[in-house]
Amino acid sequence: MRMNGRKIGLTLGLWLAALCVAAGAAAQTAPAQASTTAPPPDESVLGELLVTGHKTDKLPRIAILPSLSADLEDVIVRSVVRRDIELTGLFELISDSKAPVGLYSFDDPVDVPEWQKLGAEAIVKVAARPKGKQAEVSGVAYFLNVGKEPVYQKKLTVDKADVRVTAHRITDALLGALTGRPGGFASQLAFAARWTKNQRVFRLDADGQSLTPLTDAADFAIAPMWGPNGSLFFSSSHEYSPFGLFSLANGSIKPVTLPFKTSVYGVAFNKDYSKMAVAVAEGGKSTIYVGLADGTGMTKASTTELATHPVFSPTGKLAWIGGEAAHGSTRVYVDGKPVSPSGFGASAPTFCDTEDGVRLIYSVGVGNDQRDLVMSDDQGRGTSRLTQGQGSNTYPACSPDGRLLAFFSTRKEQPGIYMMSLKRFTTQLLTSKIGESLRWAALPPTK
């Protein structure tokens, strides 16, 4: 039976209302203690918090100092850092056109009073200075309430060809200084996409650059997943053979030995890459096994007839898409319990370690062959929609710092990979490539 949009909306609303009632009831019955005993004086780091009930969210204003350098490396670094910081949605960036008149060479002092008049709380200065075949990439942060001396600076000397990725590393370090949580732009995305009659796995920089196919055009590759030290795992079939698990590291593809002779539909690793979960075909159904990262010690972990798309949370919980063979509807299961609403076909769960805690994000069918992204906590509570009425939105993937969400979307008649700030919920097109099984992971650290 096909549900129309109105009925779906009503059912989802009822489900959310039921959740709210349940949450409220739980809060009412919680073992709270209320008394009027005078508390000891507060000597904590945070001090006393003044709660007024005033719901405002003011973004801190910061500036990225203009640069007068004509060096290509300097232009690249500054543009990359500025775009990265814009993408986070964490700050209100002061426009270059409002910059006070003055000198903007790297060694020139910062005109603190003039920037304070513009409301800047912090200032970021980045530069890349060529030194032969290399470039010295610097990032400096000033807090204007502290003074004109920098509070943080990072400097990396790299080959000129690596200036772009180094700019992302500088952004990550500067975000760490500005917020206490390092950024996640020194990272890469992987996904599977059609290639003539087959499907290949591609990689992409976090800013949409350097799209590169990684698997053989003669094979049908699916379900990529980043592994330890920047390696990539994926399932692949050659000439209609069962899907086997392969790993790509240092440019060479090798099969991964597993105790299964049937198709492997997907793979996942936990946070420290000590555990591996695989979705395996079994008697016309599929099962998820968990074992050691080398493929040994596999034991059955799923509790549903059909189980695919395994993924670990940062805290070690295992989620998958589960369903029954007799029914078409699928739900997200976390540690064996369904956490997505029943009646809505759920797919592609992922966990985000956001600034507000761990969140579970997945896509649900909303009728007319459209899918939308929803977010909840890792137990399915507090579900909210991230997309609505803007094409079909699928395969969410979270940035390593939990601030951004990438996903495929067919919105605005401009399909592609979009990036959403989980702080501001603004969306930007990253690249026009469409595919499936989007994954996002940090680049290996520099040696």
Binding site: A30, A34, P39, G53, E355
Partner: protein, 272 residues
């Protein structure tokens, strides 16, 4: 008919040698064409089938440079300990060279001392191994090798009187996390509908107990406002927060969130 006649007439007019020569020439031309075709096939001029270029791996070579120490590091809770080699050493006591009468002096002109004669006083004589100088202007002070170092001040000159944190990075992280917690509680608290002037006089202090999983375990009202409506709203707000999970502290400063939080619920907006 006419053409056949002409053909037969022409063919018969050719000598056998001419026919053989023509056949040989034709054979040579054919052989040359065949050789050219073979040569063209073996050369690089032939059209190759289009093959897709294999993906190129992009090696990343990064030469690390150690981060410079954050430049602004004034103040701190712990006093810096200077290296031993930097400690101030007590000055060496030197004595001015002076002569004194002696019964053991030789009675020769060379033995007459060149330095001034010491004034007789009650001061003790210098030790035998004392360092001697022609002239001493040195004013000796007490040696203070363990005096507190002055390289680190009490705090930052741009800090605030109430400030306790001397690391500006941590101070900013604390400030931002505090704002995040305030927003978290603000989202749950709505003051009661009371006259503005009256509402602005009301406030309640609450101490919140936080579990290891960042969940609100319970709360204690330290000071109630005295207004039944306001205090009821405070109670319902805090009851609703019990069990909920507070936002995590920034990963670089995970110890910011402690086991208790002090909050004050009040309305501070101006009345129109």
């Amino acid at each position: 008919m006419a053409s056949r006649t002409l053909y037969s007439t022409g063919l018969s007019s050719l000598a056998t040698q001419d026919v053989l020569l023509a056949l040989g020439g034709a054979g040579l031309v054919e052989a040359a064409l065949f050789a050219l075709a073979v040569a063209a096939g073996a050369s690089s001029a032939h059209i190759k089938p289009h093959e897709e270029a294999p993906p190129e791996s992009i090696p990343i070579k990064v030469l690390p440079v150690l981060d410079d120490t954050p430049l602004l590091k004034l103040g701190g809770k712990q006093k810096a300990k200077l290296p031993e080699m930097w400690k101030k050493q007590p000055p060496v006591q030197r004595f001015e060279e002076k002569s004194a009468p002696s019964t053991q002096a030789k009675k020769t002109p060379d033995a007459i001392p060149t330095s001034a004669l010491a004034k007789p006083d009650a001061s003790p004589p210098p030790p035998p191994d004392a360092e001697v100088a022609k002239q001493v202007d040195q004013v000796l002070l007490d040696a203070t090798p363990d005096a507190a170092p002055t390289v680190e001040g009490e705090g930052h000159p741009d800090g605030v009187k109430e400030g306790t944190e001397t690391d500006p990075l941590k101070a900013r992280a604390v400030s931002q996390y505090k704002a995040k917690l305030i927003a978290w509680f603000n989202a749950r608290f709505t003051p009661p509908d009371l006259p503005c002037e009256e509402l602005n006089k009301l406030s309640a202090s609450v101490r919140v107990n936080v579990g290891g999983d960042r969940s609100v375990q319970g709360f204690t009202v330290g000071r109630a406002s005295g207004n039944a409506d306001f205090d009821a709203r405070v109670q319902s707000t805090m009851q609703g927060a019990v069990g909920a999970e507070l936002p995590p502290p920034p990963p670089l400063f995970p110890d910011i969130l402690e086991s208790t939080l002090s909050i004050r619920l009040a309305r501070t907006e101006k009345c129109e």
